[in-house]
Amino acid sequence: MDYLQNTKTGNGGYRDKGEKVWSRLLGSSARYTRVLARLLLFMILLRLLLPAPILVTIGPQQTVYSDYPITGVHTRLTDEVEEWKIKRTLELVREMGSPWIVEFFPWAYYQGSDGDIAWQHPDQVVNHAHAQGLTIIARLGLTPDWARPPDTPLTYLDEDAYEDFAAFAAAFAARYEGKVDYLVIGNEPNLSYEWGYRPTTAEDYVNLLKVVYPAVKEANPEMQILAGALAPTLEPDGSPWGLNDLQYLTEMYEAGAAPFFDGLAVHAYGLTFPAEADPDPNILNFRRIELVRDVMVVAGDGDKSIFVTETGWNDHPRWTMAVRPGQRIQYTLDALRYAEENWPFVEMMALWAFRYPASTKSYMDYFTLVTPEFVTKPIYDAIKEYTGNGG
């Protein structure tokens, strides 16, 4: 009778069959209980074997000491999972005498299609950096898949999603009021790769600024919006790869960009040239910054500051754009000194890059100041000495 009821009434029949399978596997209910108890005990023992989580506290408020307050670094904490490593990285930045960090906060990593934003990781980075006394320049970018057409790359952001991006930027600005003072909108928009593998136009980017700027200012009037982070490149008009940064900036002003940013972010790599090599529109070197500045002055925007959010030299043994390690140290110190003494319009210079979470086993490793294992390189020690933090 029981059997008939169980097997002839809908899902009950399947449940009954399932019980029989379990019964075959485990035998009687007493045996079932014993197995469960042992499993539970095993899991408890396994849990006890796990090391206790590392306690990481924010710690007391610190102050950065630096003889050269222009010094900054671009950290790479976006992919750093462990909180103690985030804290240790930022402690080393402070100890080196760098009052500034530039850090990337990818929109795509944080906001789901339901609109919720996962703040845990950015909270860790911002709170630890703030506690170390560092001024944070936050770079925002990368579009979540729900905000872009199918089969487009993360760097693809079109006008349909400008409002969504602006809303995220505004939420970010509001949340970190008093802790983050600068936002960089996008990254190297004059490169096709950074513009979703599309032809890049200054007008498109300025349209983005026009949407983001008022939204952020409404959320946090103190937040400074930095435009650009233009990539140094000589690509001519019509190139599929990008557009010359000087031309792009000129076209930004022609498109009415000036009222929609408070400062200009610039990337300036020295490549194989010494820091003081003369600027030339036809070559890429560190003092190209002066040519960028000229464009700003011509556009009547000379009162705004430049923030060099990526700079530095590379000492890979094989990369064609690299120099010897000793040259890298010398050129870097020369660059900091030159900027401090000659460029009142430059607020800060961030060296790319402070440390990666893991080795890339490529020339990129040779841009860093600290290894993934937190071993400081001689260039770190040289900068630390230079900023008055040696000994």
């Binding site: 029981d2 010897r324 086993k361 071993v375 390189k377 001689p378």
Partner: protein, 273 residues
């Protein structure tokens, strides 16, 4: 009665337990088969058919690969030719920029890469590495007859390094363990080695390639290298991940060249003893 009914019902269901297990195994095997179908290990077949091994390299890194008189020479070039010989094939070199080597391999413009490439764990999803054929790790260079045979023996000694280079990083770490170790940075590896030759330093810690080349070119100097490297930086050949047969053939040929001593002869020809 009830138990009997249940048993009957169990066996009379759409599939018996045995059938279901068979079906499950079939599905798993089918999935494994289909997954394998995405990538074919057929490069070796084509190589055998054509008798040509297409080798990708960046000929700008002496003494491993550099162009000379419209040909490529160097340790990697010689090794590639020797491997091809061992396999009864002809080596054909295709040049790429250093940054484009892996892309060239991925897009099947070459069969494998040999270009003083270090093993990159992050690339192992798409590529596979051969057994290493050279260790470019940091080496200690010492005056002939010196008793120094490891870093731990440098207590109280003067160690020359290239300013900012990996050897400098390594030496600085050792200086924390050996408080009496004096680290002397020089602008280049050659100048650090010159310091040992001049008696200004008791040893130099430099990368394996620079150190060996220096010794090879200045064989008149009374210097030698400690045979055990201080760090390990293995160079290996690279194939596409699906080319298991080619990888096995390359490893087999490399193993043969190692066993006959030919690999050591090639290394010695380009980098000295």
């Amino acid at each position: 009665m009830v138990a009997e009914n249940r048993k009957t019902n169990f066996h009379s269901s759409l599939f018996s337990a045995g059938t279901r297990i068979s079906l499950l195994i079939f599905i798993i095997l089918a999935l494994l088969f289909l997954t394998g179908c995405g990538r074919k290990d057929d490069t070796w077949q084509r190589i055998q058919k054509e008798g040509v091994l297409r080798v990708g390299l960046d000929p700008t890194f002496p003494p491993f690969e550099v162009t000379a008189d419209s040909d490529v020479i160097g340790l990697d070039a010689d090794l590639a030719r020797a491997l091809a010989d061992e396999m009864g094939l002809q080596a054909e070199f295709v040049y790429f920029g250093y940054d484009g080597l892996y892309d060239a391999l991925a897009t099947e413009q070459v069969d494998f890469l040999i270009s003083a490439l270090v093993i990159v764990p992050g690339r192992m999803r798409d590529f596979a590495y051969s057994e290493p054929y050279f260790n470019a790790g940091e080496i200690l260079v010492i005056p002939s007859g010196s008793t120094i045979d490891e870093m731990a023996g440098l207590s109280g000694k003067r160690l020359a390094v290239e300013l900012g280079a990996q050897g400098h990083v390594e030496a600085t770490q050792w200086a924390k363990r050996l408080p009496d170790l004096q680290v002397l940075p020089y602008p280049s590896a050659d100048e650090a080695l010159d310091a040992v030759a001049a008696g200004e330093a008791d040893a130099a810690l430099v990368d394996g390639v620079s150190g060996r080349l220096y010794l090879k070119e200045r064989s008149n100097l009374d210097l030698e290298r400690v045979s055990q490297t201080v760090t390990v930086e293995p160079y290996a050949m690279v194939v596409r991940i699906e080319d298991e047969t080619l990888l096995a053939k390359l490893d087999e040929a490399l193993s043969s060249l190692t066993a006959t001593g030919e690999l050591d002869i090639l290394i010695e020809r380009w980098l000295g003893p």
